[in-house]
Symmetry: C2
Subunit: 324 residues, 2 copies
C-alpha cells in the first residue's frame, strides 16, 4: 500500500506529464491555466486509493484513469462556469472571463477528449468496463447540470428533486472515481458497487454540508462570503426545506425576503433567523448524517481488512468535517 | 457486400435506435432536433463502406463506430455554430438560436459523450485501436476549429496554414471514419492508412470545391447565396491566393473591397472580377485536382480487388462533382 501523500504526489506529477502542445495556443493555454490553479485533486486520489485498497502494487496502472477523472472534472468546471456566468474559480478568473466564452467552449471540449485519451491508456482488458462506468457518469453529470439550470427557472423544487440533482451533478463522479479504481484493482463487482455507494453517499453528505456552511460556516475558514446562496435565492436543501415547512406565520416573511435584493447583510441575517425558527439546519444535518452512515456502511461491507480502509475513511472524515 | 442504399438505410435506423431519454428535456430535445434535421450521413456511410470493403458480413459490427462518427460530427456542428454565431444549420434554426447558448453547450457535451457510448459498444479487442484513431481525430478537429477562429483575427494567413486548418477541421474526420471501418474490417495497417489518406484527400478536395462553389457555383444547385464568403471576407483558398498573388495593379482595389461592407452584389461581382484576373479559380481547381489524384492513388493502393472499391469511388465522385 501507498500512503495518501505519495499518491497525491503521483497525481501532481501525472498531471504535469500530460502531453500539452504549445499550439494552437488559445486551445491549450486555458487548459494549462485551469489545471494549474489547482484544487485538491480529491477525485483522482479516490481512484488511486480505491485501486490501492485491492492491492495494486503498481500505482501507474491506475494513474491514467485517475487523470481521466481529474480532466473530466476540470472540463465540467470550465463549461459550468460559462453556463453559470461565474467570474471566479478558486479565487482566479474563470477561463471564459480571462479569454472569452468561445475559447472556454472549445478548450473544454478538448479537455473532455483529453480525459478519454487518458482512459484509452488503461489496460485493454479493463477498457470496456471502465468506459461503461465513465460514460454513464459523464452523461449523468450533464443531466445534473441541466436539472440545476432548470431549477433556477422553476417556481418550486422538491427535496427529492434536489437530492436527485446533486447526486447526478456532483456525487456520481466521486462514486465513479472510486469504482474505476476498484475495477483496476480487480475488485469483484460487489465490492466495486460498495465503493461506488460509499463515494456517492460521501458526495451527497458533502453537498449538504456545503449548503449548511454557506449559512452557518465560519467565512474565514470556508473561504466564501457568508450567505452567498441566500443572496442568490439559490434553491439549496435549506431553502427548499424552509419553503416546504414554513406555515402561514413564516412563509409571507420568507417570500418577502426572496423577492428583495437586499440590503445584503439584512437579507442574509433575516433569512438565517427564519431558517433557525424552522429548524432547517437540523434537518440538513440529519440528512447529512444519514448519508454519512450509509457511506460508512458501504465501506464496511467491502471484503477487505478494515485497516486497509483507513486512508479512505480518513479522507472522508477530512472532507466531511471541514469547519465543524 | 452491401449496396450503398442498404447501408444508408441501416444508418438511419441506427440513429433512431439510439437511446434518447425524455428527461431532462432541455438536454435531449436539442440532440433529437439536430439529428433529425438531417444531413447526408456521409461520414457514417464511409465507416460502413470501409468495413464492407474488407468483407465484414455483419454490418451491425461496424454500426456503433459509424454512429459514433455521426454523433461526433453533430457535436462539433452544435458547438461550432455557437462559436460562429450561425443562425441557421441545414436551413433550420441552430440549437443556440432555438434554445440558448447554454443549452447548446451542454447538449453538445452530451452528444460527444454519446459518441463515446457508441464507441464502447464496438468489439472489445478493437477498442484500443478505435479509441486511438477517434481521440486523435477529435483533438485535431478542435485544433482546426481553433485555427479557423484564430485566422479571423489575423491580418494575413498563408496557403499552407489554410490547408493545415481545413485538414484538421474537416478532412481528418472523413479519413478517420474510413480508418475505423478498416480497423473493424480487419484491414492490415497499410490498407487502413491508405483508406485514411483517401478520406483526408477527398476531404481537402471537397473543401476547396466548397470555396470555389461559393463564388462560381450555381446558387440554385449549391443551396447557398452566391458570394457569402466574399461578403464575410472569409479567408478561403481563393482570397488567400488572391492576396498572395495580387500585384500593385490589383492589390489596392482588392484591399478597398475588403474594407467595404457592400453593396453586396457590387462587392461580390467586383471581387469575382479580380479573382478572374488573378486566375485564382484555376489555382484552386488545380489544387483540388491534385488532392483528387492523391485520393485515388491511395484508393488504388489498397490490396483489395478493384470492383470492391466501386462504392467508395462512386461516393467520392458524387461528393466532388456537385455542380460541375
Amino acid at each position: 500500500m501507498h500512503n495518501t501523500a505519495q499518491l497525491q504526489q503521483r497525481i501532481i506529477e501525472g498531471l504535469k506529464e500530460i502531453d500539452m502542445p504549445e499550439f494552437p495556443q488559445n486551445l491549450y493555454e486555458p487548459i494549462k491555466y485551469l489545471l494549474q490553479i489547482g484544487g485538491k485533486r480529491i477525485r483522482p486520489l479516490l481512484t488511486l486509493l480505491a485501486a490501492d485498497l485491492f492491492s495494486v502494487d503498481d500505482t501507474d496502472n491506475a494513474l491514467p484513469a485517475a487523470l481521466a477523472v481529474e480532466l473530466f472534472h476540470n472540463f465540467s468546471l470550465m463549461h459550468d462556469d460559462i453556463m453559470d456566468n461565474a467570474p471566479l474559480r478558486r479565487g482566479q478568473q474563470t477561463v471564459h472571463e480571462k479569454w472569452n466564452p468561445n475559447v472556454a467552449i472549445l478548450s473544454g471540449d478538448n479537455l473532455l477528449i483529453m480525459a478519454y485519451r487518458q482512459l484509452a491508456k488503461c489496460p485493454p482488458e479493463k477498457l470496456p468496463q471502465l468506459l461503461e462506468a465513465f460514460n454513464t457518469m459523464a452523461t449523468e453529470v450533464c443531466e445534473g447540470q441541466q436539472l440545476d439550470m432548470d431549477f433556477e427557472n422553476m417556481a418550486s423544487v422538491g427535496i427529492d428533486d434536489y437530492l436527485r440533482m446533486i447526486r447526478l451533478k456532483t456525487s456520481v463522479l466521486l462514486g465513479t472515481a472510486l469504482k474505476m479504481g476498484a475495477i483496476l484493482g480487480n475488485a469483484d463487482d460487489n465490492d466495486a458497487q460498495h465503493l461506488y455507494d460509499f463515494g456517492v453517499n460521501v458526495g451527497l453528505a458533502f453537498q449538504l454540508q456545503d449548503d449548511i456552511l454557506d449559512v452557518y460556516g465560519d467565512p474565514a475558514q470556508f473561504g466564501k462570503q457568508r450567505g452567498g446562496d441566500i443572496l442568490a435565492n439559490k434553491k439549496t436543501y435549506l431553502l427548499i426545506k424552509a419553503l416546504e415547512t414554513a406555515g402561514t406565520d413564516i412563509r409571507p416573511e420568507l417570500d418577502r425576503w426572496l423577492a428583495t435584493d437586499g440590503p445584503a447583510e439584512a437579507k442574509v441575517n433575516a433569512v438565517t433567523v427564519l431558517y433557525d425558527r424552522l429548524g432547517v439546519r437540523q434537518a440538513a444535518e440529519l440528512a447529512k448524517q444519514r448519508y454519512i452512515e450509509q457511506a460508512y456502511a458501504a465501506l464496511d461491507a467491502i471484503g477487505v481488512h478494515t485497516t486497509r480502509k483507513t486512508p479512505l475513511r480518513t479522507l472522508a472524515q477530512t472532507l466531511l468535517n471541514r469547519t465543524s
